[in-house]
């Protein structure tokens, strides 16, 4: 069983402590807090995405495996995707590669969002974490 870095654990606790519409509001706050990309990544983020795919740009910088930098970008019209990306950004940016790989794939289940976000829509979160982990393993 993996464990959560403190920063991500705190976010999970924040979500667990609110109910219903307040959870959506919290997710919305996260979506607003997603930082912009650094200029050198902006162009790469303009690639078109195929039908139905969440328009998410993700860059994983492993220059220092002791402090992995994560960069996300999603359009304003995809607030749920932005919210999920922002949770992962605030929870995992700057953590070590090992700590990120140790995060359970289904940690998002503890956010308790399935009552307000259909379980089907939560797939975005697991897909994002899986992509981050894949990139970390590729660069071993």
């Amino acid at each position: 069983m993996g464990s959560l870095p403190e920063s991500l654990g705190d976010i999970v606790e924040d979500f667990r402590s609110v109910d219903g519409q307040d959870k959506l509001q919290l997710l919305l706050e996260f979506s607003r807090e997603l930082p912009s990309l650094p200029p050198e990544l902006e162009e790469a983020a303009m690639e078109p995405v195929p039908e139905c795919q969440s328009p998410l740009f993700l860059a994983v910088d492993t220059t220092d495996r002791g402090s992995v930098r994560l960069h996300f970008s999603a359009p304003p019209e995809a607030p749920t995707t932005r919210g999920f990306a922002s949770i992962l950004h605030q929870g995992l940016d700057g953590q070590s590669a090992d700590a990120i790989l140790d995060v359970p794939d289904d940690f998002y289940a503890d956010l308790g969002l399935s009552s307000v976000v259909s379980p089907l829509r939560l797939r975005g979160m697991s897909a994002m974490l899986a992509r981050i982990k894949r990139k970390l393993r590729e660069k071993m």
Partner: protein
Amino acid sequence: MPVPPEKNAAFAAYAHPERLVSTEWLSANLGAPGLKVVESDEDVLVYDIGHIPGAIKIDWHLDLNDPVTRDYIDGQQFADLMRRKGINRDDTVVIYGDKSNWWAAYAMWVFTLFGHPDVRLLDGGRDAWIAEERDMSFSVPQLPAADYPVVARDDSKIRAFRDQVLFHLGSGPLIDVRSPAEYTGERTHMPDYPEEGALRGGHIPTAASIPWAKAAANDSRFKSRTELDAIYGDLDPNGNTIVYCRIGERSSHTWFVLTYLLGFTDVRNYDGSWTEWGNTVRVPIAKGEEPGEAPSRAS
């Protein structure tokens, strides 16, 4: 009281132009008595980052589905929902949403299961409204509770079930509106939608592949009658047509196009779609680009 339909030359060639409204018309009619605007989206937060002033949010997943069984809500639950949302039976309901009205069409289809008399789509949906920089609002309207009657859901006309689809093979047109990769069987789920996957990939034998998005122009509005006729020209408008996708949402968009824009008389949406078919033991499946043959009735 319903609101008179829009008279718009751009819609005149469609079979049922009264089922569409333009952004101009909606903008001019916001607040009209008897008009209720409903937003239904794929993204659960989109409504909260700004919506058409006065619009009510109805979430397909959370509001229109039975919380336990894989089915839609019943007449009592629908009446309760309408009462809560402040929608009356004789109101004109205009539905719009994100992603080319993908989920708006689904919500409209569910409204139609309950026979809500006057329900229309906003041509172009959210995308068109925002592209024109029209007014947006953050406030959630608190409408007075409505008095909506309990009307039994009628699944017989526009909804198809698995066994009906099985029986339909070889006797009537069937359309798969998913992406080509899903149709051929290369993918068992949509990118990023792993939880809506299936154990088997491919399509229902005899199904023609006509991806739903072909009916939408780049600005998310519906394509013209001429263009749509070219896309769906091989189908018999008086045939008994069944459409499906993955869970029935993209095929609702095609159901709307065939029924209201092209005037097909009998179009049913198979909402079980691939998540049911591709997980069902021993149903026939075709892979690759060819529609495939109907199974022989003798087996």
